[in-house]
């Protein structure tokens, strides 16, 4: 269904607080399964969610300092993806060829953005200070989303030239930054940021009702 659009350029992959310091979490963008983790240095990394050893999900990994250790057999990767330690061969210096596959990863607009390493697009730059509010999974394919967003009362299609856009929502002091992260058969993630704490609760209620609207059956 979503075959027209594919993973090119920078895509939203979560709000900044989805990956807290010292944790690794899972994100799906179209068909790509990604581990996002944050070291003690505060930097977020996005890697293919597959350990080069036997394919264990790296989102189950253990973060210590600025390294990620795979849960399965303990292969440990440095912050750039290079394998730094193999517990079964403690004296071996792992060959340079063993690397986790890294994506480009930047943070802007209160969100984490990733791009495939081969992408040459410049990273997005969203001006202003944005505070993470809510992420919500919505059971709608991208085609379905576009259909509803384009026709719906919110008329969001206009605001979302790319994968994110700013909106004005009645009752809020500031704007809402809304991003869409398509997940193929899993629907999509909607991410919302606000400009200040006073809008958190209302924006959260608004995005809950938006999801309800988006998930309503489309009349044939």
């Amino acid at each position: 269904m979503d075959s027209v659009v594919s993973f090119a350029g920078w895509m939203p992959a979560g709000l900044q607080n989805a990956a807290e310091t010292g944790t690794s979490v899972r994100a799906v963008i179209f068909e790509d399964d990604i581990a996002i983790w944050r070291g003690q240095d505060g930097l977020a990394r996005a890697w293919q969610n597959r350990c080069p050893h036997r394919g264990m999900r790296l989102s189950y990994g253990i973060v210590r300092e600025n390294r990620l250790t795979c849960l399965y057999h303990g292969w440990t990767y440095d912050g750039t993806g290079g394998c730094a330690h193999i517990p079964a061969h403690p004296d071996l210096v792992p060959p340079k060829s063993i690397r986790a596959k890294a994506y480009g990863c930047v943070e802007t607009g209160g969100m984490i953005w990733v791009a495939r390493s081969e992408s040459s697009e410049p990273p997005p730059q969203i001006s202003g200070t944005w505070m993470p509010c809510r992420t919500m999974q919505v059971n709608r394919s991208l085609t379905g989303l576009a259909e509803v967003l384009g026709t719906g009362k919110a008329n969001l299609a206009l605001a979302m030239g790319a994968w994110a856009g700013q909106l004005r929502v009645a009752g809020l002091q500031g704007a809402v930054l809304l991003a869409v992260q398509p997940m193929g058969a899993r629907g999509a993630m909607l991410h919302a940021c606000v400009t200040g704490p006073e809008d958190l609760t209302r924006a959260s209620d608004w995005i809950e009702s938006l999801r309800g609207h988006l998930e309503r059956p489309i009349a044939a």
Binding site: R134, R186, S204, E208
Partner: protein
């Protein structure tokens, strides 16, 4: 105290975890849940006619239901009152509300896990959909708590409601339920695993 226990049971894990948090000594009586179905044997049905784990025995008192056991242990062994706060009526009710919610998580997420891991014959689509419905509610609630500067289900510190909701939320992946949809739940799981004396159960792939 004697706990009738099965190592892969999330409901038994609630009790083992709370015993650890309270630093209590107790005896474990292993029940061969799978493949032995010992929880449906005549001798176990005499202890719990529902044929379910966990069951706690303490000085002749027999308590079934994980949530009831948590309440009992908190009342008897937590002089601080942190885990079962009773001074504030609204908070008290919140804890009870989420204890009941925890049993609904068992009815959906744990059912899906029994289907996927042990081949139980049940409506797996309904079980997973039911779990997602509950996790949306929990994720939304935890987000609201975070907006208020609270990191736990029922207020500023962890209560037995957090313990009761934890295992089958953290184990949902075993039943084919994706919890990466729920970032506030993920943060809460990580927080819980970082509490002093936390210990893991097989299948919960989160480390402090």
């Amino acid at each position: 105290m004697k706990l009738y226990d099965y190592v892969l049971s999330g409901n038994c894990y609630k009790i083992r975890l709370f015993m650890a948090f309270l630093d209590l000594d107790y005896e474990k009586v292993g029940v061969d849940f799978y493949p032995g179905r010992e929880h449906k044997s005549d001798s176990f049905l005499a202890i719990n006619p529902l044929g379910q784990l966990p069951v706690l025995e303490d000085n002749g008192v027999v308590i079934r239901d994980a949530q009831a056991i948590l309440v009992y242990l908190a009342n008897r062994h937590d002089p601080s009152g942190q885990w079962w706060p009773q001074a504030d009526h609204a908070q008290f009710a919140q804890v009870v509300q989420w204890l009941a919610f925890a049993d609904s998580i068992t009815g959906t997420s744990s059912a899906a896990r029994l289907h996927d891991m042990l081949g139980y014959d049940l409506d797996i689509v309904a079980a997973r959909a039911g779990a997602h419905r509950l996790f949306r509610i929990l994720d939304s609630h935890l987000s609201q708590q975070e907006f208020e500067g609270h990191h736990w289900i029922a207020g500023p510190s962890p209560t037995i409601a957090d313990i009761a909701c934890f295992p089958y939320t953290a184990l949902a992946g075993d039943g084919g339920i994706d919890t990466f949809y729920y970032p506030a739940i993920q943060r809460w799981i990580h927080r819980l695993t970082r509490l002093p004396r936390y210990h893991n159960m097989p299948g919960i792939n989160v480390f402090a």
